[in-house]
């Protein structure tokens, strides 16, 4: 038996020699994998880069499998997605894996970036690793946007319209950019074809090349050591210090440090699979038919904050902000390691860095949250679907009730909530009579202003009268009606109750 085992071992060894003599890759790759890395870099916070790579591989594999069934043609794409969801066995699961993998990948890439930034790992000699990394972030977001177009539904269609509208604001070349983006004058087959080309060939190609460069530089400079307050990065001494640290505390990357990467990658893949299995694929939503206007388009999660921002930018500064801010932001990220390439790495000595990350994270979080419920959008169906609560109609005069009808019929509820239902674009009207006098409300309704359209042309005098009668009943019993404080001076003889409004008596 022993001789058989020996013979097998000899045969294996000879096979290895035969291959390696010709290939010449196994030995250098093994050496690379086992290269010594500072012991303090074997941390659970150092796993995001490898995790992003693992997710990239998942996206490539699931993407290739989806391409077996997807039809990148405007008249077939939606149906091919429906077929994947409902007809092709496990098609829904592949779509779900790819969709959730994309969300996870953006999250992990952002985490990786925040960790590298807070740890000062972008400093000398890893400046170019950071710069290439910024490119990889943009490419990842590019994959997310083009991927959203692949899901060729209403959101994709109108999302392309939003992209085209933003591009059209670029000075001089605006219209050419729109045509380049859409592949023609309208959103159609040519648009989907070019976004497919970007999503499947162009961006992944650059992305893979970029990841190669990124990993090459990580290997060339070694995994950055854990930052310590007071340990200053200097171009003249850092590399020698790093090599001394590696020589004294170094452990082989595989297996001593890499096991954490492995465990995290497995947990992450499991999380993607769980989300895909339990929550299923994203869409597709309604068919991309631009004549179906009963739709409220929304971008995917990663772009909700931009969508929210676009609702709040005043018209006068929207174009400059849209065109200039991204350029400044990206340029800032790119040049960061060039002017902050030396000095402290530890976050406790870099308050500006910590403040920046906190402010950006909170801002993105708030805008994303706003994007999930879009308080700026009119609720298109509120005027027919949200009735006036009965308690607000009890013990009212016929004219006041007529006013409630006018309020519903003129779609006021689309922007104004009552009793918690209705739009949030304008203020809730539950206590409007405690905040505004009748004259103020009439002026506001008829002339508009402050982001409210003027309703002078849409309301007859009798409708206005009825509406006011109803609105003046909308106040809490605990609060007096709003008064015009100048009345006492201008009409000393009259009291405030010259036009008494029947006090609401709640049953």
């Amino acid at each position: 038996m022993a001789s058989l085992k020996d013979r097998a071992r000899t045969a294996g060894s000879r096979l290895y020699d035969w291959v390696e003599l010709r290939l010449g890759l196994i030995k250098p790759l093994t050496e690379t994998a086992t290269h010594p890395t500072p012991e303090n870099s074997a941390s659970w916070l150092y796993v995001f880069g490898s995790a992003a790579t693992v997710l990239l591989v998942l996206q490539i594999v699931t993407g290739i499998l989806l391409a077996l069934a997807y039809s990148p043609s405007a008249n077939e794409a939606w149906n091919s997605l429906a077929q994947l969801n409902h007809v092709i066995p496990l098609g829904w699961y592949l779509r779900a894996l790819h969709g959730w993998g994309s969300d996870f990948m953006i999250a992990i890439v952002l985490l990786h970036m925040v960790q590298v930034f807070l740890f000062g790992s972008y400093k000398f000699p890893r400046e170019m690793t950071w710069i290439v990394g910024v490119g990889l972030l943009l490419l990842t977001l590019g994959m997310a946007f083009t991927g959203q177009v692949m899901r060729f539904d209403q959101d994709a269609y109108w999302g392309l319209g939003i992209g085209a509208s933003i591009s059209s604001h670029v000075p001089i070349v605006g219209p050419y950019l729109v045509h380049m983006l859409l592949g023609g004058p309208i959103i159609g087959g040519a648009t989907l074809a070019r976004f497919f080309t970007l999503h499947v060939f162009v961006i992944p190609g650059i992305l893979l090349g970029g990841v190669g460069l990124h990993v090459w530089m990580v290997l060339r400079h070694g995994v950055s050591d854990w930052p310590m307050p007071g340990r200053i990065v200097s171009r003249s001494t850092y590399q020698q210090q790093y090599h001394e640290l590696t020589a004294s505390t170094g452990i082989p990357f595989v297996p001593d440090a890499a096991w954490k990467d492995g465990v995290f990658a497995a947990a992450l893949l499991l999380a993607v699979m769980a989300c895909a299995f339990f929550f299923g694929p994203f869409g597709p939503g309604g068919m991309p038919d631009p004549t179906i206007i009963q739709t409220a388009p929304k971008p995917d999660f990663a772009f909700l904050w931009i969508y929210a921002l676009l609702a709040f930018l005043p018209p006068s500064i929207e174009t400059p902000v849209l065109l200039v801010a991204p350029v400044i932001g990206i340029a800032g990220l790119l040049v960061l390691p060039l002017f902050a390439g030396e000095g402290e790495r530890h976050w406790s000595r870099r308050p500006v860095a910590v403040l920046l990350v906190s402010v950006i994270a909170v801002t993105l979080g708030i805008f994303t949250h706003l994007g999930t419920y879009t308080p700026w959008s009119p609720v298109m169906s509120a005027w027919t679907s949200a009735p006036i609560p009965a308690r607000l109609l009890a013990n009212r005069t016929p004219l006041q009730r007529q006013g409630a009808l006018v309020l519903q019929d003129k779609q006021c509820r689309n922007c104004h909530a009552i009793a918690g239902s209705g739009g949030q674009r304008g203020p809730a009207l539950d206590m409007i009579a405690s905040r505004m006098t009748e004259d103020q409300i009439i002026r506001q309704v008829l002339q508009g202003g402050g982001n409210m359209p003027a309703y002078g042309n849409a309301l007859s005098p009798s409708e206005t009268k009825a509406l006011m009668q109803f609105l003046m009943t909308l106040r809490s019993e605990d609060l007096p009606p709003a008064i015009d404080s100048s009345t006492k001076l201008t009409h000393p003889g009259e009291s405030q109750t010259a036009h008494p409004t029947p006090t609401p008596k709640n049953p």
Binding site: S73, A74, N75, E76, W78, Y157, W158, G161, I162, A164, S165, I166, S168, H169, G174, P175, L177, V178, H179, M180, G183, G184, P185, I186, I187, G188, G189, A190, P288, D289, P290, T291, I293, Q294, T295, P297, L310, A311, L313, P314, P315, E318, T319, W376, S377, P378, M380, W383, K410, Q411, N414, C415, R425, G448, N451, P453, A454, Y455, N457, A458
Partner: protein, 235 residues
Amino acid sequence: MSEDQTNPTPPSHHATHGEIALAANAAAKAAAHTRRAFLFKLSLAMNAAVGAVLAVPLVGYLLGPAMKKPSETGAWIPLGKLSDFPVGETRLAEFRSPEARFNDGDTAKAACWVRRISEDKLQVFAINCAHLGCPVRWFAQSKLFLCPCHGGAYYEDGRRASGPPERGLFEYRTALVGDSLLIHSGDMPTFTTEAVNKPKPLIQIAPASSTDEAQAASLSTNGATSPMRSNEWPA
């Protein structure tokens, strides 16, 4: 490094003998080298030239969609009978984009809002919000167009009422041929692609007067674009 420093002398001794031979060899090679270097540079130059010739049509193909002249885009298309649009109402009309191609599917379709002001006065608005292009909806009771995306609002005549849009709704040029309503459609309207469409010759079909023509060409959002009655089908 350390190895070199421990035994520096013996290699240099050997080198003195070898250097003479090397120098002679190098001198002999030099002549041939310049010739080969020249030929290599020549091959680089050739490839640069061939590459440029190759690249021009490739870039031209890539930029094709952007190079199309605005005057080549768009056509007059019928929206339906005038009687389908009652006076005083604003109705949704559908059409197939004249720019549609065979593989556009549903995206070849387009919609617009037709506002019949009087017997012969009409406004046709693009469905795309002037902010970022989402489909606006008409609310007849409050006489407003509302956008679902960011809450842009427009009055019945297309003027901006409130919200983020910088301007009023985009308007199509209209024409009446017999009983049929025509609009000129081409680009999906956006902030500047609509502007590019302005200097189209087709706007000049049977203008009632030169002022009307100027008004129509400016696509004023304050009033209705003068519809033009014409018996001549636009070429």
